[in-house]
């Protein structure tokens, strides 16, 4: 029998049927620091609000203080899973502003590095999608091959992760034979590894049921939200900067751009997977093209631009012009021609753009990075409304949000 002694609920709590959950900045499933405040009705998400800026490092302000080549280490730390792509994009922006033309061999070497970085980025994303659905093995197995990619970077530039690879005008040194041997070993072994990784996930009943139908977005909404990269291609729009505005001789290569249909998590996984296979094919083609250069042409690894590219040390000690150029470049006193340029490259997450305004001084007047993660993370609230909490977690990792790129 009910009496008046039963528990009294707080004011307004009967009307409120939702729970507020803070998927906070420190959470194992958020790969990076960003916060989501979710309104849950049981397990269903009713609303979501995002907070970012927990790793805001003021790249754009720092760049106004530094000469052009000192900005490369900053670009490394944007999308740090594929830093060579950021570096190359920045170097190409500078070369566009300075009007430098690069030899073909340098372009092909750049393509090899950028596609290796793309494989490295997609590997992390896909294996983490696996981890978030509970399959840890794929991640550990595939990390071995990321180590091999890191070894290739180390041979070329000395660093594993934040590479600062290349220079304005080319590369700092020619690729050694060891680098090419490691590349050959990678090209030989990796396809089998990718096939085995696919075996674990592609037709796996549990994975498919978790990812198909969750986290989808239509092509019109994706375009309105400014999506680019694999997330947009999974929704059905075949926009790839490498095809639309080819840079670094991408028009010489033969590759397809994989496209999905519904834009859900499974489509994103499959698009990234197929892109890795296409990247392998591009690297093989580029490697063959590089091997066709013989003799003196095989020693070319930078453009002939003495005002912007450090001259050889022997020349610095013997020739007057080389000494002056060396001094000016190292002290950062080379003047950049005034102008404004926008250049974009296909990063691991989409169109990574660099908007550079120079007023003729030694440092940029304004440098703005068009960061794809920042732009498409806005759509997260719309994507997860109505889905379950566990789907929201998988969507978060399949969108491949890198906090360094988001906050910048």
């Amino acid at each position: 029998m009910m009496t008046d002694n039963h528990i009294k609920l707080p004011e307004g709590s009967i009307e409120k049927t939702t729970t507020t959950l803070n998927l906070g900045p420190t959470h194992p499933a958020t790969h990076g620091v960003f916060q989501n405040i979710l309104e849950l009705d049981g397990e269903r998400i009713v609303d979501a609000e995002q907070t970012i800026g927990y790793i805001h490092r003021a790249f754009e302000k720092i760049a106004e203080r530094r000469p052009l080549y000192q900005i490369t280490p900053l670009t490394d730390r944007l999308n740090y899973c594929s830093s060579p792509i950021n570096n190359m994009g920045w170097h190409q922006t500078c070369e566009k502003l300075l009007g430098l033309k690069l030899p073909k061999r340098v372009d092909y070497l750049r393509v090899i590095i950028m596609e290796l970085a793309r494989i490295s980025d997609h590997l992390i994303c896909n294996s983490i999608v696996g981890v978030d659905t509970g399959a840890f093995t794929g991640f550990l197995y595939v990390m071995q091959y990321r180590e091999l990619i890191y070894e290739i970077y180390e041979e070329i530039c000395g660093s594993r992760l934040t590479t600062n690879i290349g220079r304005i005008g080319g590369f700092e040194r020619n690729f050694t034979n060891t680098a090419f041997q490691k590349l050959e070993r990678f090209l030989e072994e990796y396809p089998k590894v990718l096939a085995e990784f696919n075996n674990l996930f592609m037709r796996n009943r549990i994975f498919m049921e978790r990812t198909i139908g969750s986290g989808g977005i239509s092509a019109e909404r994706a375009l309105n939200y400014g999506f680019t990269g694999p997330n947009l291609r999974a929704s059905g729009v075949d926009y790839d900067v490498r095809v639309h505005s080819p840079y670094s001789s991408y028009e010489d290569f033969d590759f397809i751009v994989p496209v999905g249909t519904t834009g859900d998590n499974y489509d994103r996984f499959m698009v990234r997977n197929e892109e890795m296979k296409q990247s392998l094919s591009i690297i093989t083609q580029a490697y063959r093209k590089v091997q066709e250069f013989k003799g003196a042409e095989a020693e070319v690894f930078h453009a002939d631009a003495p005002e912007y590219y450090l001259p050889e040390k022997e020349d610095v000690y013997t020739k007057m012009e080389a000494l002056i150029y060396h001094f000016k470049i190292v002290m950062g006193e080379t003047d950049i021609p005034p102008g404004e340029v926008y250049h974009s490259v296909e990063g691991g997450n989409g169109e990574l753009g660099f908007y550079l305004i120079s007023d003729g001084g030694r440092t940029p007047y304004r440098l703005h990075f068009r960061r794809p993660c920042f732009i498409y993370y806005q759509a997260y609230a719309e994507i997860v409304k109505g889905s379950m909490l566990s789907d929201a977690i998988v969507t978060l990792s399949s969108l491949n949000l890198i906090a360094g790129e988001m906050d910048g």
Binding site: Y54, I55, A58, L161
Partner: protein, 177 residues
């Protein structure tokens, strides 16, 4: 038979005597439960350290946890911005004694290359740090070296350290009760 590195003590026929702090230290140092507080690029190098190639698990730190209530070692990897500072401090305060802090990477140690208005110039401005691992990012071997130094510290720590005057003064200087 030598099984591992034993603390100093007297070995006898079927028995081994040592100080309690030595035994407790040995147990603690070989079974650390770390909390990876990975914010940026150093976090990816940490993922490589956890992987099979550089394997952090062979030093006993196999069980990575994300709940501060259950972990001993707070590994701060990556830049800490001023917006993130209170969050880091909250996580540190939620950890139970004994707790250690490993600061991985130049950004966590001193702000790194980001000498800007929004980046905290070193996490030791808000929490006490035990071991600093420099590098940008440090190689996985360097992170392992840092963990090994933490293990040395843990192995030699006195059992009454956390109740002593010096420790209380250290906590006071950070505003932690």
């Amino acid at each position: 038979m030598e099984v591992g590195e034993l603390p100093e003590g007297h070995v006898g026929d079927g028995f081994f005597t040592t100080k309690l702090s030595g035994l407790v230290g040995m147990a603690r140092k070989n079974s650390i439960w770390p909390l990876p507080f990975a914010t940026s690029c150093c976090g990816i190098e940490f993922m490589a350290t956890m992987g099979a190639h550089y394997d952090l698990g062979r030093f006993g730190a196999e069980r990575i946890g994300f709940s501060p209530r259950q972990c001993d070692l707070l590994m701060v990897m990556g830049t800490i911005a001023k917006k993130m500072g209170p969050v880091l401090r909250q996580v540190y305060l939620q950890m139970a004694e004994p707790r250690w802090v490993l600061s991985v990477g130049a950004c966590a140690c001193s702000g790194g290359i980001f000498d800007s208005y929004s980046v905290l110039q070193g996490i030791d401005q808000i929490i006490p740090v035990d071991v600093y691992v420099p590098g940008c990012p440090p190689r996985p071997e360097a992170i392992l070296d840092g963990v090994l130094k933490i293990q040395e510290l843990i192995g030699q720590e006195s059992l009454r350290r956390r109740n002593g005057e010096k420790y209380k003064e250290l906590m006071e200087s950070y505003g932690i009760q």
